[in-house]
């Protein structure tokens, strides 16, 4: 599964994308728990889950979205465009 990071989450993780085995994670939130353990940077990126938004296969949703069968999960802070 491809995992994408944007903005300060990308900076903290130190990568814009990585290939991940989600293991038994069934939701974006559970996937975040798996990712957190990969490095200090990952742990810092997911430190405050209230500031984390996600999209599964380019559909934005909440962290309890199921990820089963997804090819791509993205994590990012609240958007600030416009």
């Amino acid at each position: 599964m491809q995992v994408l990071y944007f903005a300060w989450m990308r900076e903290r993780v130190g990568a814009a994308a990585e290939e991940i085995d989600p293991g038994s994670a069934a939701t974006a939130r559970e996937l975040a728990e798996v990712l957190k353990t990969r490095s200090e940077g990952h742990a810092a990126a997911f430190e405050d889950m209230r500031a984390v938004r996600c999209a599964v296969d380019q559909e934005m949703g909440d962290l309890d979205m199921p990820i089963a069968g997804a090819r791509e999960v993205a994590f990012f802070p609240p958007v600030t465009g416009g």
Partner: protein
């Protein structure tokens, strides 16, 4: 241009845009347009303590266009519009630079005003862009404003 040869409704680009050119193009598509509302967002210098020297706008290529097209389709479903245009820049920007343009054309001014405000409120909370500002105190990612969520929520259908 889109696949059908019609002018694109949504553009995500590094280049600047020209309001006059964009509005003239939209106005030319129908002679029944009575009202065009434009919104232009600019990089503020924020003179004083929070002074901004430069801004970097990160986006999610591919997804950004999709999100903006979705927001445009929703506006078109809600208001009787004769034309819509959204341009959002990404990459490095300086104070005074244009960031975003929204145009809404309709027979009636109320629809044009409301659709333009709606497009901006939804874009602010749903389009995957992130601003990083640099100034004398260093660089920092811009925090999302709660006021933007509140503004977007007023369009929720009950």
């Amino acid at each position: 241009m889109d696949a059908a040869g019609a002018p694109s409704k949504v553009s995500v680009q590094r280049e600047d845009f020209d309001l006059g050119t964009e509005q003239a193009r939209l106005a030319a598509t129908s002679r029944d347009i009575g009202a065009i509302v434009s919104f232009t967002g600019l990089v503020r210098e924020m003179t004083g303590k929070g002074a901004i020297a430069a801004m970097e706008l990160e986006h999610w290529p591919g997804m950004t266009e999709k999100a903006l097209a979705g927001i445009v389709a929703e506006a078109e479903a809600r208001w009787p519009l004769d034309g819509v245009r959204v341009i959002h820049r990404h990459g490095p920007l300086a104070p005074g630079d244009q960031i975003v343009l929204v145009l809404a054309a309709s027979r009636h001014r109320q629809a044009a005003f409301e659709a333009a405000a709606f497009l901006m409120d939804y874009l602010k909370t749903r389009a995957p862009f992130w601003k990083k500002e640099s100034g004398p105190a260093g660089a920092a990612w811009v925090d999302a404003r709660e006021a933007d969520d509140t503004a977007a929520e007023r369009w929720a259908k009950s």
